[in-house]
Assembly symmetry: C2
Homo-oligomer: 87 residues x 2
DNA sequence: TCATTAGTTCGATAAAACTCGTACTTGGTC
DNA sequence: GACCAAGTACGAGTTTTATCGAACTAATGA
């Protein structure tokens, strides 16, 4: 998955997995200090790689990891991501 | 591992794992139709990422996957690579 | 309807990565 | 030594990817 090669995108998936307690989260929730267009770029990459899905809740577009699908297509990938030590 | 994001490097590691029967292999063994300098570039990337080691045998510099080290640092990564279905 | 807010799209620029030719180094052989 | 073969180092050109501003869309609420 080339989509996870980018450090910010890896962080996004990790935060969703490890800190989200089964909720979906909007872009703002992550607290990244980047312009909106940059964030859109990365969320789009994750979406198109099949790693997250997004649903509209009012104004927000909340993201969630596609756990089932990923575990089926790439067994072990999410475990790897979860235990990944940066660098 | 950003080093595995490149398709040729993923192929190199996969071939070493799946077709090498516990031998080390020189660049030529892989049969890639690329200039030497390009291959050096990719083998260097894999070496610096800690994914392979190389030993000199006469003229050749043979490569081998660092299975032990990788399994220790990133448990599950090599299984993932082995079962990876391209695209 | 108007204002606000979350996010997208587009386009331009910058940074990173890949490709590959040329020259060089190293090991082996005659 | 001269020669050849495997691989490296360097540099330049090309391609890919990231970054981000500005204009835009969609949903909400006053």
């Amino acid at each position: 998955m080339g989509a996870l090669a980018d450090p910010l995108r890896l962080t996004i998936v990790r935060k969703l997995m490890l800190e989200s307690e089964d909720y979906d989260h909007s872009c703002g929730w992550f607290g990244f200090d980047r312009p909106k267009s940059s964030l859109t770029h990365h969320f789009k990459a994750l979406r198109e790689a099949g790693l997250i899905r997004q649903r509209q809740y009012g104004l927000e577009r909340r993201s969630r990891v596609r756990t089932e699908d990923i575990n089926q297509r790439f067994p072990g990938l999410l475990d790897l991501v979860a235990h990944w030590h940066q660098d």
